[in-house]
């Protein structure tokens, strides 16, 4: 039951963009310095994130990446779905996968876990994480 490094780093990179002041585009280098994720990895991550409309890239000296939407409109699930192949704990929860699904007693367990996860994935927004981040950085300083 693990979230891949890709998923974890994507969340970190987007949170980094979300807390940056003035919503100015941030260069890959600046994001890398703050998050500790390598330039090359960030470049890779921003391709699917851009494609899914979560970030916008801009060129030029002042160029870089910025969030494409308000942080309250980006859920943690949106970010993970952009980079992970599947967020379902087992393939059969979506249905139509296995001929045993009507009689399978274990599928109820998987369905329950799946909907509990979905609920959190959709309800936690980037804006919630900004609040936690601000709280934590206040304590550190």
């Amino acid at each position: 039951m693990k979230i891949s490094t890709r998923g974890q780093y994507s969340l970190e990179a987007l949170l980094c963009l979300a807390v940056s002041s003035g919503h100015k585009p941030q260069s890959i280098r600046a994001i890398s310095e703050q998050s500790g994720i390598s330039d090359g990895y960030l470049e890779q991550l921003f391709i699917p994130l851009k494609k899914k409309g979560l970030v916008i890239g801009s060129r030029g000296v002042q160029g870089g990446y910025a969030l494409a939407k308000d942080p309250s409109r980006i859920s943690a699930g949106d970010v993970l779905r952009a980079v992970e192949t599947s967020l379902h704990p087992v393939p059969c929860v979506q249905g139509g996968y296995c001929k045993r699904e009507k009689i399978c007693a274990s599928r109820r367990t998987w369905k329950t876990i799946d909907s509990a996860l979905e609920n959190v994935l959709n309800s936690v927004k980037l804006s919630d994480l900004i609040i936690v981040y601000r709280g934590l950085s206040g304590e550190v300083i």
């Binding site: 693990k2 969340l11 007693a105 876990i113 936690v124 994480l129 981040y133």
Partner: protein, 144 residues
């Protein structure tokens, strides 16, 4: 965010044995046939289930596996942890390694919530509750 085949097959193994009724002995080949899972794989799963105290093996020509506990006492969350190891969605921070504030914030605001959701949703299930599920008779007959 995956539960491996080991976890899934382990649960099916226990459900299958429990469905045969109290005290029923099941051979690996019976379970393998009913569940359409390879016998070799089931054997590996059986090792873990036996070690964790969910099943016992009975030797001899009429031997097989038998549930070691009443199905109502077998908690599904606990079985999964025995089969899969830790169920949390990300690894715990390495001791002595400082995590970025971004990561810490996501851990507090998101990963911990996912873990709690998984734990809470699993808490309600026992092997007993799964085998008394809402299985309609017609569906059951159809697959026999």
């Amino acid at each position: 965010m995956k539960i491996s085949t080991k976890g899934r097959y382990g649960i099916r193994f226990l459900i299958d044995v429990a469905e045969q009724g109290a005290g029923a002995l099941c051979t690996l080949s019976d379970i393998a046939k009913r569940e359409s899972i390879s016998e070799a794989y089931l054997e590996q799963v059986a090792v873990v289930l036996k070690r964790s105290g969910y099943i016992r093996s009975v030797k001899g020509s009429s031997g097989g596996f038998i549930l070691a506990k009443d199905p109502s006492e077998v908690r599904i969350g606990e079985v999964l942890r025995n089969l899969e190891g830790d169920l949390s969605v990300v690894e715990a921070p390495l001791p002595g390694k400082k995590e970025s504030l971004f990561r810490q914030a996501i851990r507090v605001g998101f990963y911990n919530k996912l873990d709690n959701a998984v734990n809470e949703s699993l808490g309600s299930f026992t092997l007993g509750s799964l085998i008394c599920g809402e299985k309609s008779k017609t569906e059951y007959m159809y697959y026999i």
